[in-house]
Amino acid sequence: MHELGVVFHIMDNLEKVAAENKANGISKVVLELGEVSTVIESYLQNCWKWAIKKRELFAEAELVVEQLPAVTYCEGCGQTYPTVQYGKICPYCKSPDTWLLQGNEFNIKEIEVY
């Protein structure tokens, strides 16, 4: 639900990067998005389409989102399992002593500039 705020936050960051690299514009932005990162890709894409019209640097910028699956590690038995399917409790040994190994990422991976 905070995708628009996040989009502007990304744009603020990248405007600095573009200035440091003397770029005239940004043609592509690649993000890495974890499956349980609280950001929904389709909302993000919609906000992006709206926001790029407001910022000259991004006028032609395509947004590419690479999804990272959520994986949980179990301290009890040392195995990993898919977080979304099984949640907090390990499906192998039923231990609640588990933590998220991967899946809450929200990274700017790379950008393409001209």
């Binding site: 936050h9 990274n107 991976k109 790379e110």
Partner: protein, 224 residues
């Protein structure tokens, strides 16, 4: 054809904000100001709890309050009756405050002479959890009518909070709210979270909360 370059960034979207928040915390430490970030859903009782908090601490601490809302100044008007210094921040549609907005808010509040600054964040359990405001401690209020399952639904919020106040305990008999189950769910997300049941309306439990806060402010200021 124009030349296209690929720049590797490889950083979290929130990295920039995290750095600004860390700088702000350091500056506040030097000034001896303790910043508390107070979060909750809309209607959980942030403003009423704040009024009680100020009432309990105004004789021992100099308190300032930043009221963040998308619009209106009703909360700031309420708080201004308490004797604390207060400023209303408008987020202009944004669902949370970030470190830079908090810094601007603190500048507007004028922290000179303040010992405790409280940020009443936008009522929301999702977005404020993502953005470090620069606060020394995070507190959230979960009210009884919201249900004891909220720690399962909004895990990030509960995992970043130092204190969870369970408010409106006077209406416990009328709701299917299981306090023990709620404690268990919160500790599943955050074993270190301190949980204090309160009723801001009647003042029940508030003393334990203000005592905790007073102690934390003392520790922060002594650590300078």
């Amino acid at each position: 054809m124009r030349e296209v370059r690929v720049l590797e960034i490889k950083q979290s979207v929130f990295a920039d904000n995290d750095r600004q928040a860390q700088e702000l915390r350091q500056e506040l430490k030097e000034k001896g100001v303790f910043l508390l970030n107070l979060m909750s859903s809309p209607g959980a009782g942030k403003t009423t709890t704040l009024m009680r908090t100020i009432e309990g601490l105004r004789d021992t601490l100099k308190i300032g309050v930043m009221e963040a809302d998308i619009d209106s100044d009703v909360d700031a008007r309420t708080i201004s009756g308490s004797g604390a210094r207060v400023i209303q921040l408008h987020t202009g549609g944004m669902c949370h405050l970030d470190a830079e907005m908090t810094r601007q808010g603190l500048a507007g509040l004028e922290t000179e002479g303040l010992e405790l600054a409280i940020l009443e964040n936008v009522g929301n359990l999702v977005c404020p959890a993502e953005f470090d405001t620069g606060a020394v401690k995070n507190a959230m209020i979960l009210s009884v009518p919201e249900g004891h399952d909220k720690p399962l639904k909004y895990p990030l919020m509960f995992s970043i909070c130092d204190v969870v106040l369970i408010n409106k305990i006077d209406v416990l008999p009328y709701f299917d709210f299981d306090l023990d189950q709620c404690r268990e769910y919160i500790h599943m997300r955050n074993p270190k979270a301190k949980i204090i049941p309160i009723c801001a309306r009647t003042g029940e439990g508030v003393r334990e909360w203000t005592k905790w806060l007073e102690e934390e402010v003392k520790l922060w200021r002594e650590g300078r």
